[in-house]
Symmetry: C2
Subunit: 437 residues, 2 copies
Amino acid sequence: MAVTPQDLFGLDNLPYGVFSTPGSPGGPDTPGAPGDPTRRRIGVRYGDHVLDAGAAARALGSPHTPLLQAPSLGPLLAAGRPVWQSVRAALRDWLGNPAHRETVSPLLLPLHPAAESPAPVFHLPFEVADYVDFYASEHHAANVGRMFRPDGEPLTPNWKHLPIGYHGRAGTVVVSGTPVVRPSGQRRPPGADAPDFGPSRRLDIEAEVGFVVGAPSTPGEPVPRSAFRDHVFGVALLNDWSARDIQAWEYVPLGPFLGKSFATSLSPWITPLEALEHAAVAPPPRSHPLLPYLDDTGPGAEPQGYDLRLSVHLNGELISEPPFSSMYWTAAQQLAHLTANGASLRTGDLFASGTVSGPEPGERGSLLELTWSGTEPLRLPAGAGGERTFLADGDEVTLSAWAPGPGGSRIGLGEVTGRIEPTRGAPPAAAPDGGGA
Amino acid sequence: MAVTPQDLFGLDNLPYGVFSTPGSPGGPDTPGAPGDPTRRRIGVRYGDHVLDAGAAARALGSPHTPLLQAPSLGPLLAAGRPVWQSVRAALRDWLGNPAHRETVSPLLLPLHPAAESPAPVFHLPFEVADYVDFYASEHHAANVGRMFRPDGEPLTPNWKHLPIGYHGRAGTVVVSGTPVVRPSGQRRPPGADAPDFGPSRRLDIEAEVGFVVGAPSTPGEPVPRSAFRDHVFGVALLNDWSARDIQAWEYVPLGPFLGKSFATSLSPWITPLEALEHAAVAPPPRSHPLLPYLDDTGPGAEPQGYDLRLSVHLNGELISEPPFSSMYWTAAQQLAHLTANGASLRTGDLFASGTVSGPEPGERGSLLELTWSGTEPLRLPAGAGGERTFLADGDEVTLSAWAPGPGGSRIGLGEVTGRIEPTRGAPPAAAPDGGGA
């Protein structure tokens, strides 16, 4: 077990997840029958292993044992920033101090064990309370505006004044690896007066970064930007699957609904904000003056952007490298906006950045943009599916990312992946739709 | 204790809620210290009393005791329709059969006891999973369209083809009686280029009917209209408070967000669908053909509308009587649409009808419509506040409703009420805004 600082998941990272080992009979931490929720345990990723954090806490007599023996990250999230810091310091000691090696080593389970051993299975690491999706990339918003409203300004008049967002469906946030069933819905064919119904022909991805709220807030009391790290526990990659044909027909005037609500995939690994200290960057220059609750341009303002370098793979082929540092609105601004009207936060609230798209064509975080609404297909190797506009059944999309760590190291964000399954009860071949169809 | 069939809350109604009696020391069903969640109990309304349902179940040796001793309606909601029917039959027996009178009478607590006794306090009766708000009144949608988009068609092209809806904030659904703090937010003054920030000047109500999902559904599998009563447990009045100035500036292109998310008030009483059997009516004629999953016009189609007669009181004065029977889209259609893309239902999902507005001016369910965007103020008696466009601090709004019951009786829906409190930390007097401001 040798993890060097160069590893993406070394001592400076230590993301949290929830796992079980369903195939493992009778180990000391696998009580109960399969399906028993008490089998779920908090894990901390260290290199290619996962530490059974509750077992380690118990073995080492930690006061954090109850929090870390929970079957969900919920209690840890709710505990607040001082506890987050204390637990993180303890984990760094348990994993980094040679004095604990004998105790800790047996509690490090390989993520990819030899064939005869059961691999850990990862679960949604907390119960999602409310899910909000923002729209914070100027490049993405302008690209979409050009495609959806070709006769108007690319950005709506409010875009530079507030981080636009909307509520999504919390109940269909699923953990990475959960199959994504192609949604059916109403689409209006070009030129038609009335819609038809069927499997989406323009199924897309949105490469996003999700922020996980830990500490709740008081109803009626806004959370200022400066309190961001008191409330937000960490980040996780997120794929906001989108059916563009369904969305285009339904979204006026109340916003996206069924075009998004079928599934949102979340990484099993929540990276604590503390692991991203070296990734803090200033956001892009603000072209419009901001109202005080959003203004982050003053002298001495703490940089609240994050330098996360995303990668999007489709069937194993790299198709985009979206830079999170290019996002116009920061997560701290999004949190301040989300609560500006007094709306309260709950433990487990999840808010996502919106599609991460940079200024360059190879930095776009959706197929809508990468193929310019299907008119410029991607050309993948035949083994990766050949030409693609939108997603075909069987396609697999994986998002990954890293951020600068201390001393030139890299902090990895846990991947989020998903494979498209055919609509249930419908003909299997739903051909993706090009722009001319 | 004499409840006649003419009562709004007789044996044919029996709505469910969750209550506690915080001021009552040491009764057999008030264990624990104040604030102890185990003090919360399921209550069933009978006339002007609430039955401690768990205590009654235990006293009468009912197999439903565990479900009815829960501190929330959650387990009962999750149990499914056959159990709902069985529990309801038991409650009708317990309350209606003279043989049980001696056992049951002490477990009936007055809703409005004499001054020295503690009154029951009502809580949000279940944990809201996802909250969805629809837009199902043609009259409301057309009125809003005429005001917000005066140069276009009143209805968007999709309106007659699908029940438009969006996700709202589940974490700020509050029980009736919870004060509503006036939200602040960005508003763009007429003619200005940039927004300002402050307490909403156009704070409004939306009189709605909420539907509570009990039985969950399978991810990827739509729920047909015919399965509506297998999944939906009951209904409750709901006030979707809306800040029109915030909403108007923010809602393009992703829909309402902070204009709605500060608070949504729900009645403490969930009326089971079975109590509304005599209120079933056919919805209005469909002007456009519907896709099969929404089409409810075939021969022998079960009528899935509900004849609920709503009343809106502002500071005690009746200001509107919206007829729910005029809603274009039924709740069964909304459920079928909500799941058409495979999105799954969870126990505790709540979906609301959208503002209930009938064809007549006195039937409109929002101040936006009742005052035509503030240009035609309501004239209330001086004791009720005088002239009103939008809500002033201190205003109290109460929604109530009844439905036809068996034999000419009436089924009451529990009220939902809320009073406006001033924005915290802001000047107390936020003058409502007329249309010309």
